[in-house]
Symmetry: C2
Subunit: 215 residues, 2 copies
């Protein structure tokens, strides 16, 4: 993943730690499925792909609730991380831009079991390939009303580069606080708004760099 555009700003816990907490949470879920009740920092670090010390440092930000000589209680730790991340509540998300990638993301239903739901999609022009999208595609003009009414605070942005900044300005106006940006430009937003960038082309480019024999 690309780094966020913003420094941590928030509070004490470093951004990279927050990322890793999400990873730990997913690992713990799998341990739960396998009826593990307790896990050592060594074992959990192994499946999470980090060093045991790093795991312990990360968890230390949440307080201390491991048992020395024994490890961590899987359920308790899950609960604690999930509470810190605020993963309990279901978050409504709007998707802006129903082109190629937008349609792809819309048809991907994998967010739901992770606590997010794409409640609606918007585009400047609702007519186009309206074919089999799982959700209704609304006109951009309905966005402000929708956002207000449904208390939407997060948006997935998948519009073409040329439109991205303009649409972002609107989103910010309407009160969106977090943007998952798939467009290939760096968005200019106020301090208070958070942007995470995902750029699949860059990920592939990066892989290709490390794979290929230096010229």
């Amino acid at each position: 993943m690309l780094d966020s555009q913003k420094k941590t700003e928030r509070n004490d816990i470093p951004r990279k730690t927050i990322y890793r907490l999400s990873v730990y949470l997913r690992c713990l879920a799998r341990l739960k499925d396998n009826q593990m009740e307790t896990v050592s920092s060594e074992a959990l670090a192994k499946v999470a792909g980090v060093k045991p010390t790093q795991l312990r440092k990360d968890l230390a930000y949440l307080g201390h609730f491991g048992t020395r000589g024994l490890g961590y209680d899987v359920l308790e730790l899950s609960r604690k991380i999930s509470e810190e991340l605020g993963t309990s509540r279901l978050q409504p998300v709007v998707l802006i831009g129903v082109g190629n990638l937008g349609r792809a993301l819309l048809s991907y239903r994998g967010f739901e079991k992770e606590g997010f739901e794409i409640v609606a999609a918007f585009d400047v022009d609702e007519s186009p390939p309206q074919k089999q999208t799982a959700r209704p595609v609304l006109d951009m003009r309905e966005l402000p009303e929708y956002v207000r009414k449904h208390h939407v605070r997060m948006a997935i942005l998948s519009v073409p580069a040329a439109a991205a900044q303009e649409v972002t300005n609107q989103l910010v106006d309407y009160g969106i606080m977090g943007i998952l940006n798939f467009s290939p430009i760096v968005l200019d937003v106020p301090e208070s708004v958070m942007v995470n960038n995902v750029n699949l082309a860059i990920e592939l480019e990066n892989l290709s760099y490390f794979i290929h024999p230096r010229h």
Copy 2:
């Protein structure tokens, strides 16, 4: 973006710099479109969302070819970065796992203009929702033959968590050197194989953390 599972290992240039070079390249492309011939570190840094010093430090890894008092030649700099990243040649990529997300990625044609092409998709079971995928979905058993024949070195992995490690082992066996991993587990691969992780749920979770008022 999530960090890669691997440290730089490769050569001198730090991984984060490589990422940023990709970003600079895209910014330069836009400058080119606007007929800019020359650009200062300050201006380029601005659109790339970094500090001018960082930009200069990053570019210094490629040698020095800015002109003091003037800035960088847009075309020359593009060429140089693109050469370093190896973006010239078109890379064939296979996609493994044609479930929800896999199908979404398949229908997204945005890679091509960036130098990558999903040449084929594979699944354990080629029958299922074969509906309107842009490309043929082949049976996993044809994968080794295909990879060998078409000199494929990179794969996009979008299989369910339960199958991910098993499939990865196969990919590694068949000679795949780089994996863009959309599955939510940390893959275990040999040193020589590179994995980049993309996890949309984690990106959203992360946004939501920074947005929401601390409890």
